[in-house]
Amino acid sequence: MFRRLDVAARAVVDAPVRITVEGRSVTCRAGDSVAAALFAAGVIACRDTAVSGVPRGPYCMMGVCYDCLVNIDGMANQQACMTPVRVGMAVRRQIGAREVKL
């Protein structure tokens, strides 16, 4: 479980960025990565692997492990730790291999 330090929590109140995670509304701090926002919202697993379907979550937070993949606004396999939150962003769990939309 993760939480924001008071100073960061205040920033969320002062200048909230609202996104949705699996359809549920989550309020974030401007400048946070999607991965940080997920941790702060109590979400530590963000995908099921393409190889065996086991759950994974962010591991390195610096863009090298590729375990933090999520679907953002319909785009599959986006690195949550390398993507800053944006107003209205829709984040969904990356379930297995990506679909190819014809």
């Binding site: 393409a50 190889v51 785009m75 599959a76 396999n77 297995g96 291999a97 990506r98 679909e99 190819v100 939309k101 014809l102």
Partner: protein
């Protein structure tokens, strides 16, 4: 847990005489070694180290018939025969190694983007099939509509494709792994780090000089890809060869969606995509990929299947094809050094079945048969005079 160094506790390979030593542990050498079992007791496969030219690792995995044989009808026949042996080969490998090489022979497509390409390719196929002695298999020009029926999401610039039912694919890496697994289960000695730099003959036994000592064998098969030119010369075989570089893009896994392979695009059993390919004269620079070629490969792929635009390129490959000067295989037994055979080709996957089930028995028997006579180096000498 098995003890470490188990390979080393086996008998010292420099202290015995093998029945056959195959130089080269890639797809050609390994398929031949596989097929030699049963007719030979002591077989060794000599391979170089981990970083070598290794064409077998840069392989697309096509078991392809429709592009083969212009200028040599016998090559088309040999290719078609191999593709027909593949189902038997695949099930033998599965049974013996437990590895499924994921053979699919549901046909294949050659994509055509525009009238000029269509005209050129139809002309090519027509002329090729008009050659005397050409292999007989059905081929068809599909229009855009028919192609789109086979490939959902086909790009608007694809005006059609050449289709044949005899083309197919397998997983080339699993094929190599299956073969090597069979070696370790059946006592074929796979010796890595044993690059051969010289060959001598003493008292009817070949002596292959390697960095780790001499390997002796009554028969040898040179299947060392680009190394065959130098080694062939040591046993009286003149084989001018040249490397031809090919670059390939690999895309991440997606849900399965390409039911029929293109010659330039296929989706593997794991869900990854292979996009190819280039043919370049670039010497031996196989460690390099070049941006313009990658861009052209990507552009072509996106035109063929636009939905791939958002799928990520996870790596690229650059490998050297093994090409004799006319591009066709070479199989020959040396006349000056009987018992020394050479096998060279650039379609290691397509021909793996023929190598294992047709060529290897010929080698074991002691002489190559008429079916592979067109592939001897004598054809180069005829052209010269």
């Amino acid at each position: 847990m098995t003890s470490p160094h188990s390979q080393m506790t086996a008998a010292d390979p420099t202290r015995q005489v093998f029945d056959v030593a195959v130089v080269g542990g890639g797809l050609v050498g390994s398929a031949i070694a596989y097929g030699l079992r049963g007719s030979a007791d002591r077989i060794a496969v000599l391979d170089e180290g981990d970083v070598a030219f290794r064409a077998s690792r840069g392989n697309f995995g096509l078991i392809w018939v429709q592009s083969k044989g212009m200028g040599m009808a016998a090559y088309a026949c040999w290719t078609l025969a191999s593709s027909r042996l593949w189902p038997q080969f695949a099930s033998m490998l599965l049974e013996e190694s437990g590895v499924d090489v994921c053979l699919e022979q549901n046909g294949g497509l050659f994509p055509l983007l525009g009238d000029a390409e269509t005209e050129a390719r139809v002309d090519f196929m027509t002329r090729m099939h008009a050659q005397p002695g050409m292999a007989r298999y059905p081929w068809k020009l599909l229009d855009r509509h028919q192609t789109a029926d086979l490939v959902p999401g086909l790009g608007p610039e694809v005006t059609g494709a050449i289709w044949t039912p005899v083309d197919g694919v397998a997983n080339p890496l699993k094929l190599l792994r299956a073969l090597h697994t069979v070696f370790s289960k059946s006592g074929v000695r796979y010796l890595s780090g044993h690059g051969v730099h010289d060959i001598q003959r003493e008292h009817g036994v070949f002596c292959l000089q390697t960095a780790k000592g001499p390997i002796r064998a009554r028969k040898i098969v040179l299947a060392s890809g680009l190394g065959n030119q130098v080694l062939g010369a040591k046993v009286g075989l003149t084989l001018p060869m040249g490397p031809q570089r090919g670059q390939i893009l690999v895309l991440e896994r997606t849900r399965k969606m390409l039911p029929v392979p293109f010659v330039t695009m296929r989706q593997t059993d794991e869900g990854t995509w292979l996009l190819g390919d280039s043919q370049e004269d670039a010497g031996y620079e196989d460690g390099v990929v070049t941006l313009p070629v990658l861009a052209t490969l990507a552009d072509r792929a996106v035109r063929t299947l636009p939905a791939l635009k958002e799928v990520r390129v996870v790596r690229s490959w650059s490998a050297l094809r093994i090409k004799a000067q006319d591009g066709f295989p070479v199989y020959e037994e040396s006349s000056t050094h009987p018992g020394a055979f050479i096998a060279t080709c650039h379609s290691g996957v397509t021909l793996a079945a023929a190598h294992a089930l047709t060529l290897a028995p010929m080698i074991a028997h002691g002489s190559l048969q008429a079916e592979v006579a067109p592939f001897s180096t004598r054809r180069f000498h005829v052209q010269k005079t």
